[in-house]
């Protein structure tokens, strides 16, 4: 296991913006690292601060919010 460290990251994506953006990135075959675990929210305003804390508590190395 001499691989470089790969972080585990929780990502909240807005259904209307970033989720579609991520979809587009996939369809257009843009390469990006497979570090993120996505949760789709109906709006990035739906993400409560406590969700961020909860994510860190459950062992994620970082939390992203894309809106």
């Amino acid at each position: 296991m001499s691989q470089t460290f790969e972080p585990k990251i929780l990502a909240f994506l807005c259904n209307w913006c970033a989720y579609a953006g991520a979809d587009l990135a996939g369809v257009s075959r843009f390469q990006y690292p497979s570090t993120i675990r996505v949760i789709r929210t109906m709006c990035s305003g739906r993400v409560d601060p406590s969700h961020v804390v909860e994510g860190l508590k459950s062992g994620f190395d970082g939390v992203f919010v894309f809106g």
């Binding site: 972080p7 990251i9 690292p33 601060p49 190395d61 809106g67």
Partner: protein, 167 residues
Amino acid sequence: MHVVSQLLELAGIGRDRMQLRWVSAAEGQLFADFVKELSSLIGEKGGFDPNEYQLKLAAVEGALNSPRLRWLLGMDRQLTERENVYHQKVDDKLYKELLERATEEEYQKSLILEVLRDGPQSVREIAEKSGLQIYAVSQLLSEIEKAGLVDLHGYEGTTPKFIRLAA
């Protein structure tokens, strides 16, 4: 989000671990770039061990759920862009300073409450476990006591011991 990153910084977790970015539906490339950039940023910071920060994460959560911060965050626009009940508009900068101070205080209070979960303790013990100054602890403690969240439990010798009340 400002408050959350300030809290993470206070807790020693580092504000970098939470990131907010705007990506529209048409910006697939931008999304890929952000993920690449931010992943390497987190990668550099290394792994995060939640057990190590258990106490502090709980304190951050407690602070975020405190009525005072919730209220301040909810009233932000109302007070800085419209007016308060006395028809005064609050200065943006002043509001931000107030919010920052409140955030720090609420974090410290919440930290004390978390420490007190382990049973009755003296001011000195609380200060040691929370890493706060003894003077700050005693001041905050009296404030929390007024709010009815902690109480004097009794004396061990001449040392007063405090206990956390329900919740």
